[in-house]
């Protein structure tokens, strides 16, 4: 029996042998990011580790919209501002920059349905069978926004959804939530509503690197300290307020001399 060796980084010996697959050049390229298609590898002789590599989160850049058309952006702003409205208690989804978050999500792997099985056939399932659409999330948003505007133009004197009163928008959103609203062009209103509400909450509460949760204001509203790492001293301080302001992956205002 071999002598046991201690663990952890001291023994992270880089001895990966890249299999001769023609993909060997991928070593050093972007490492596996949860998607498919990483090259096959053979490992022998120790725990592999490559200097300078980390599967760091992707983040987003820019301020322009890449996925939503101007008309779609107007719809999304009108919808998410009703899902999470603004007041003095905390930001609304609009103030938290959720539309921008949604735009970047839909322009990327999530929008493409990279973690959805979309193969056929596509019969309508039971509610218990979950998502059964042929649409990727991006396709669903595009089709649903058009179908909802088509519906409101037919039923509200030619007005787009965004032109409706707060009350009318709330009523329509409720009818989507309950599944009573029937849309055309193969769009299931309830399926879209479920995804829109989930994604809106994601943009509201996820780390600001993804473009939403502006100024970590949603975390401040509820009292979540964010990507804080070590609470050991607070474990047995029962019922005491934890005074840390929230922190994201890129730190927080006040770090590095910022205000």
């Amino acid at each position: 029996m071999d002598k046991p060796i201690p663990g952890r980084r001291r023994f992270l010996i880089s001895t990966a042998v890249v299999a001769g697959t023609g993909l060997a050049g991928a070593l050093g390229a972007k490492i596996h990011d949860g998607e498919l298609g990483a090259p096959p590898r053979t490992y022998k002789g120790g725990v592999p580790w490559t200097e300078g590599q980390a599967d760091a989160p992707p983040g987003v850049s820019g301020t322009d919209f890449k996925f939503f058309t101007p008309a779609e952006r107007v719809f999304i702003e009108a919808a998410v501002s009703r899902l999470i409205p603004n007041d003095e208690v905390g930001p609304g989804a609009l103030e938290a920059n959720v539309p921008f978050f949604l735009d970047r999500q839909l322009a990327g792997p999530f929008g493409r349905g990279d973690h959805y099985y979309l193969g056929g056939p596509w019969p309508k399932g039971t509610p218990e069978q979950g998502y059964q659409s042929r649409f990727s999330p991006a396709q669903l948003y595009r089709a649903a926004i058009a179908a909802i505007d088509k519906y409101t133009r037919a039923n509200f004197n030619g007005a787009d959804f965004a032109k409706l009163s707060d009350d009318d928008r709330d009523k329509l959103l409720k009818s989507m939530e309950s599944g009573s609203l029937q849309l055309e062009d193969g769009v299931d209103a309830k399926t879209f509503f479920t995804m829109l509400l989930q994604n809106t909450k994601e943009g509201y509460f996820s780390d600001p690197i993804y473009g939403g949760n502006k100024d970590m204001a949603a975390w401040k509203m509820i009292g979540f300290p964010g990507a804080h790492y070590d609470y050991r001293e607070w474990v047995t301080r029962h019922g005491e307020p934890v005074p840390f302001p929230p922190v994201g992956f890129k730190g927080r205002p006040g770090w590095n001399g910022e205000t």
Binding site: H32, G34, I84
Partner: protein, 589 residues
């Protein structure tokens, strides 16, 4: 073209917990071992370092460490009268993939099943009569292995993980502070229990006032640094609250990465190939012997890996599918009740109770995957079921695994899911609420099973696995009874209000429940009622061993990992001490 590789003594299919354990055991016995893993390599410092591990969006909601179902999923339905459709997105369970697999993103809840759990049929029959195990078309069985036989191997897993906890029954003596209902342990836990935060403490106090027996949850989130028997070092948990569904950046959660891999990866007789998906176990012409496995890698290259022993250590669902695709054992037929492969698929019956305070700051973000105070008074057969109309039970845990805000904001009964009222309820209750978890058993049932789908295929052209499952009246009655017991404890905590989240209706694939799928490759004492014997050896092809919770004939009210690890160690010992000397059936049919 298929390339035939150099033969090895053992090939391991799937490199999560049981694959890592078997690799270590067989390599130490001197065997030449190759492990094949369909996903990528993963290590702490590269893949989930503390600088970016606490990312709720990426790991939980974008499934960064989970199986990507875009090219291979399973089909699902509640009963044989429905058409099964693909699970197009993960929900109810979060399947693992890659090195370490679910062992990377599990909670670290380390439970032993009760001695009576291994005797589900005979024990309940004897205490409550024959009808108790056949009502509702239940198909429960005894395991063919006992708690006493597995105890040393449970202990082996505790030593590997450094499990933090307090024994309640040490060598038959009930100990203060532990679980008085547990089976006798031969050793105390390797490390002391985690100190408890406010929510679990309030739960424990209320439970004790009601005469229950609270104790700290046994956990693989370590209370203090630990060096295990293989020389691997684990650190103390920092309660960051990103544990289950996440990789631990702090080397504090027991996982294959933190406990086995530093040791086994350095063995000269061990080789790991990643991005290599096994398609089939190949059999000899008489179909009584496996010659090896066929696999394809992510470059599309096909291989045949000859091996003297085949260890199936992929997840339950893949193991059962490989058995079916390879023609090992007779597939189960729910109409006749004959056949065994795919039989007795079961799950876990979950419900919860939310507790809302006005005056108490729970600070739910201070959490860990198995940070809880628990009562086991109503689990298994720890209580008299006479007249209740069900068998089985659940543990009730006052548990705070974290306060991740997309997933874990609790709002009172009647709160809408959106709008100003939702926002105000979230802002008001986030710091002042938490959840009691009711973690229930799931008995096996004639209509719940796994087979191959007739319509849907994966990218390799193989039929997908088809899951036919629903909760039976036994589970609904058990869950209602247990949720009421949890509600009593919740009320005794004197909160402003509580909310009971009962288990109602048919099984639904959408909301997350647990990744505790069991059965389909069940163990037992005869080939007529089981796929594998007590050593997890195939009755039909004795050089194939099928690891994991697929061996559970029904599921107990506990998390499965320690039990499937104990079964793996038990199997490894039999392979090394008996099978290698005399290859063939370890139990005569």
């Amino acid at each position: 073209m298929v390339t035939t590789l150099k033969p090895v003594e053992a090939v391991i299919v799937g490199f999560g917990w049981t694959g890592a354990i078997l690799a270590q055991q067989l390599c130490d016995a001197g065997l030449e071992v190759v492990a094949l893993e369909r996903g990528p390599w993963r290590d702490t410092s590269t893949d989930f370092a503390t600088g970016f591990a606490q990312d709720e969006l990426r790991y939980m909601w974008r499934h960064h460490l989970f199986q990507n179902v875009s090219d291979d999923t399973l089909t699902i339905r509640n009963n044989v009268n429905q058409t099964a459709l693909p699970m197009r997105h993960l929900g109810s369970f979060l399947l693992g993939t890659g090195v370490g697999s679910g062992g990377v993103h599990w909670n670290g809840q380390i439970w032993r099943f009760l001695p009576s759990d291994f005797l589900t049929k005979s024990h309940n029959e004897q205490r409550y009569g024959k009808k108790s195990v056949t009502d509702y078309d239940l198909t429960v069985q005894d395991w063919g292995v006992t708690y006493d036989e597995l105890e040393p191997f449970y202990n082996q897993f505790d030593v590997l993980c450094g499990t933090s906890g307090k024994a309640g029954n040490l060598n038959g003596q009930i100990q203060p502070g532990g679980n008085p209902f547990e089976g006798s342990r031969s050793a105390e836990y390797p490390t002391p229990p985690m100190p408890q935060t406010y929510g679990p403490t309030l739960f424990g106090k209320a439970a004790a006032e009601l005469g229950r027996h609270p104790f700290p949850h046994p956990t693989g989130n370590l209370s203090q640094p630990y060096v295990n028997n293989l020389g691997a070092q684990l650190g103390a948990c920092t309660y960051c609250g990103f544990c289950e569904k996440f990789g631990c950046g702090n080397y504090s959660k027991a996982s294959p990465q933190t406990t086995v891999l530093p040791y086994v990866m350095a063995k000269s007789n061990f080789t790991l190939r990643t991005e290599s998906e096994v398609l089939k176990v190949e059999l000899s012409p008489d179909r009584k012997h496996a010659t090896g496995v066929s696999y394809v890698n992510s470059a599309g290259e096909e291989f045949f890996q000859p091996a003297s022993i085949v260890i199936l250590s992929s997840y339950v669902l893949q193991n059962v599918r490989l058995l079916l695709l390879s023609g090992i054992g007779t597939p189960y037929d729910p109409k006749t009740g004959l056949g065994v492969v795919g039989k007795n698929y079961a799950y876990q019956t979950m419900s919860s109770v939310n507790v809302f305070f006005d005056d108490k700051l729970i600070n739910p973000f201070i959490g860990a995957g198995a940070l809880a105070t628990v009562v086991d008074d109503f689990n298994g057969d720890n209580f008299d079921h006479s007249g209740l109309g069900f068998i089985g039970g659940a543990y009730i845990a006052g548990m705070v695994t974290g306060g991740r805000p997309i997933e874990m904001i609790y709002t009172p009964q009647g709160t809408p899911a959106w709008g100003m009222a939702w926002k105000h309820a979230a802002a008001k209750n986030y710091l002042r609420s938490f959840s009691l978890s009711v973690h229930g058993s799931c008995m096996s049932h004639r209509g719940n099973y796994l087979d191959l789908d007739p319509t849907y295929r994966d990218i390799h052209g193989r039929p997908m696995l088809r899951m036919t499952f629903d909760f039976t009246d036994n589970e609904h009655k058990m869950s209602d009874y247990l949720t009421d017991r949890a509600g009593e404890i919740a009320k005794a905590m004197n909160p402003r209000e509580i909310k009971l989240n009962r288990r109602t209706g048919s099984w639904n694939v959408v909301p997350y429940q647990t990744t505790h799928n069991t059965g389909g490759a069940i163990m037992g004492d005869s080939p007529a009622n089981s796929v594998v014997n007590k050593y997890l050896q195939s009755w039909d092809v004795p050089n194939v061993f099928s690891m994991g919770a697929g061996a559970f004939p029904q599921n107990a009210g506990y998390n499965p990992t320690a039990t499937l690890a104990a079964l793996a160690y038990h199997s490894a010992q039999a392979i090394i001490q008996q099978y290698l000397k005399n290859p063939g059936p370890l139990v005569q049919a």
